[in-house]
Symmetry: C2
């Protein structure tokens, strides 16, 4: 709406990448650290991540998976196994070579040449191999299976071009690693983890996703099957929001994870791994953000309701603060979405209107302003972040409600906001998946002519492999496209392959991606 | 008791250090990782740490401190500030010098010489300086104060001699860093954090501690005051279980953390920092462990009640499992110590008696064995881990209780166990602090003749400084002794200094320490 004065300088339609950076900073989520490729996650951003962690962790524990902690350093030998099969192996990783710093005699510091490690250590890019080593020690018999482990940790992958939350040299994640007696058990776990991700990301983060299997070329190296959940960002690009891998016995063979079965025979385990990361916070921004900043779904909002007393630096402030504290306590007694309502009474100094806009940009689901007159009338001025503007008047859609009505309705209100953010995102997602395109030239045309943010296309293909698949990947790459996944439970194929002209065997989603 | 056959091979009285290692392994807490100085924290050990984290984090948030995340890598420049004041600066730290691994052409891998970092990075030994940098950006005016941040993170300090949980190259901790407008505010925060640690460690971990100020020689470098909580281990040694520092304006000056006060004048902030770590798990072992393994206080036990069905691989097992599941659900509906009871129905295959001893060694507070006959009679066989043996008969003090009575009493029972572990530890602590020693030769004699685990001695001193203090420290060191702290709220001094013969000004605790 042109008569609305939005809180951000950059609009989504103008420059999505620049808008993204502005939200990260305006919502106080994170900032550059001065250390190459690493970010500082600020309290509001970290609070969102903590909420995601807690909700995901509950689901992980619910499934009987156990949390553990493995060392940050991985010996070179663990990578040599992998490198043995790769010609011209080269990987971007942070390598520790010394264990002491000394003065260089010129006012600076240097790694002490006397303290060079005999064998360098790598800062973990993933814990796959070191956890595999432990599994080979911990699994002896069928009685030890399934062994289901998870770790919340920081990992490092040296990145040249970084983007906050989406691609940083250091990031935070969880990595699940499980070992099973049979293929069936391991596949069941692969799908359980995928479904857990779908449920957490859709229900908690309100990001609609499409769960499906990745094509061969997008598989995790060494995986027999890779599954993903894919979310659509507001610029129509796909964000892989979580992956779950069935590794067959490949990793068990490399790491020697064996068990004695009931008949006394040594068998290799079937293993899985699955992960999600702080990337999800980036997905949250690109899905729920608007031209006023972020909108945080209530389930993952560190604070769901902000109470802003309109203070005047006068003796009357005390009564107003007492009234607000009482309101806070009343709200905190209520439940919303299965947990006590999280309310913050913001008493920091500063003008109420400036603070209001801070919370709008941060995306707190509900902002309550309370002035002396509201207190007298037993009212609150409530702003719903998901429906911020009265589009007719171009003003904030503030609602003046009786305090009692507001307090008793808080559970329902937060549920409504959670639902409406999910619905808005899934409506947009559905409207931006184009089906029934049967000619490659129409795909090309679609991405050429369909505006700035064209969305995804569903096509049918013959699932080529080897060099035929490589050709397809090149063809897509020329248009900056990738195959996202083969959606779980999609309609059977009934046409011909858009790439090869052969009989199609399944439907795939094609998109530009982060 | 000599007629009891304990579960461990080594007894505490025989070899405390060896006993400690056996508990770590028998209770399945952690193991060596194969990576120098780093341990793998196994599910039961990590579960205890997660409980400590959650309870501590609740207290941290309660105080209005905000969690954040800062990069694992710290630029050399941050240490150069510190090194500038230190002659012959040399610090054990993990130094990252390269960002790529490549094949060496001989089947091995090496850091790519082409990928040498222009400036090496240090893996954080603490985040003091990088958080200080952020504070200098985030604090502008008195309105931004107090700024209270905390971080849960892994840190690395290269250690030559390591001991699980007590001293490892990598460990997990939380570090609080706060900035305030005035000395008074910062001191108040220093004491709030100390009191928070005391409460968490005493109430949640059931470790009695003595809170007090450290003498000058034990202060954190750069601190104006360092406070600690000290716990007594069963070998009479002290374990520093948490510290809280008042840093004056020293760090604010080094990191340029300034604010404009209400009058418009630029002022340096007064800062604090405070930390606790996975060391607490080591303290838990050395305080509550016994000759049968660990005893975990209910508040920090990942599972408080273990249900062990006595299965026979027969069709009747199904009914027994259903009965146990019902029992589990019944217990889980109850509250203990302010939270829902955490119950595990252990269905893993294996002999019930072997599994019982596993849980005894792990230290689950209550183990319930349920066989077909118990089911028929509506009973459970309950083992309380804190009072495991009937010392007269030398047998397990198993109690046969009606299921209903057990279920309805679970809250009280767990509370009793929590209290009794704390009482046992504080009685032992109190019995092993010797007061009234006024001559140095008696201190020396005390540690020579008072058995293997002599405990602590309280003495009076004149609080010497500078070289006089150094002399005292040397004198203590010769006996392997250290000053732990000046206990908060102890009696005023009324004698002469045991070291200098001058008039004493305060009482200090002297002990051997971890
Ligand atoms: Zn499948
Ligand atoms: Zn003080």
């Amino acid at each position: 709406m042109s008569n609305i004065r939005h809180a951000l300088n950059v609009k989504r339609e103008e420059d999505f990448a620049k808008w993204y950076q502005e939200v990260i900073s305006a919502a106080d989520l994170a900032e550059e650290s001065g250390v190459r490729g690493c970010m500082v996650i600020k309290p509001w951003g970290y609070g969102i991540w903590e909420r995601i962690q807690r909700l995901m962790d509950d689901r992980i524990k619910q499934a009987g998976v156990q949390n553990t902690y493995f060392p940050i350093f991985i010996p070179l030998a663990n990578f040599e196994r992998e490198a043995a099969h790769v010609e011209g192996f080269a990987k971007e990783m942070a390598v520790v070579t010394h264990h002491r710093l000394i003065a260089d005699g010129k006012g600076g510091l240097i790694p002490d040449p006397e303290a060079k490690l005999e064998e360098p250590l790598v800062v973990r890019p993933t814990s796959e191999t070191i956890i595999g080593d432990a599994m080979s020690r911990w699994v002896q018999s069928w009685r030890d299976l399934p062994l289901m482990l998870n770790q919340w940790a920081n990992v490092v992958r040296w990145e040249m071009r970084t983007r906050m939350f989406l691609r940083t040299s250091e990031f935070l994640w969880q990595e699940g690693h499980t070992a099973h007696a049979t293929r069936e058990d391991a596949l069941e776990e692969t799908h359980r983890a995928l479904e857990m991700y779908r449920a957490c990301v859709e229900e908690d983060l309100a990001l609609p996703v499409i769960a499906g299997e990745k094509p061969e070329n997008e598989r995790f190296p060494g995986a027999d099957e890779t599954w993903s959940i894919e979310a659509m960002m507001q610029d129509g690009k796909a964000l892989q929001a979580g992956t779950s891998h069935y590794l067959g016995t490949n990793f068990a063979q490399a790491a020697n994870i064996q068990y004695q079965d009931r008949e006394g025979t040594q068998q290799h385990c079937h293993t899985t791994s699955w992960g999600t990361s702080t990337r999800l916070v980036g997905g949250l921004v690109m899905t729920h953000g608007d031209d006023d900043g972020l909108r945080v779904p209530p389930r993952v909002a560190p604070h769901q309701v902000i109470i802003l007393p309109i203070l005047r630096d006068k003796p009357e402030d005390d009564a107003l603060l007492a009234y607000c504290e009482d309101l806070r306590a009343g709200l905190a007694k209520h439940q919303a979405l299965g947990e006590p309502v999280r309310v913050l009474l913001d008493k920091m100094p500063g003008k109420a209107s400036a603070k209001r806009w801070d919370w709008v940009r941060k995306g707190a689901p509900i902002i309550l302003e309370v002035g002396p007159r509201d207190m007298e009338n037993g009212k609150v001025a409530a702003i719903r972040r998901d429906t911020l503007w009265n589009t007719e008047s171009g003003k904030l859609a503030t609602e003046f409600v009786s305090r009692d009505v507001f307090v008793s309705g808080i559970g329902q209100l937060l549920e409504d906001i959670q639902d409406s953010l999910f619905r808005e995102a899934s409506d947009r997602r559905d409207a931006n998946i184009t089906r029934g395109v049967t000619e490659w030239k129409d795909v090309v045309q679609f991405y050429k002519s369909n505006g700035k943010y064209p969305g995804w296309v569903e096509v049918q293909w013959s699932k080529p492999t080897g060099s035929a698949l490589e050709k397809v990947v090149e063809q897509l790459k020329a248009e900056k496209l990738t195959i996202r996944n083969v959606p779980r439970g999609s309609e059977p194929a009934d046409g011909v392959c858009i790439f090869t002209g052969e009989k199609a065997v399944e439907r795939i989603l094609v998109a530009r991606a982060y």
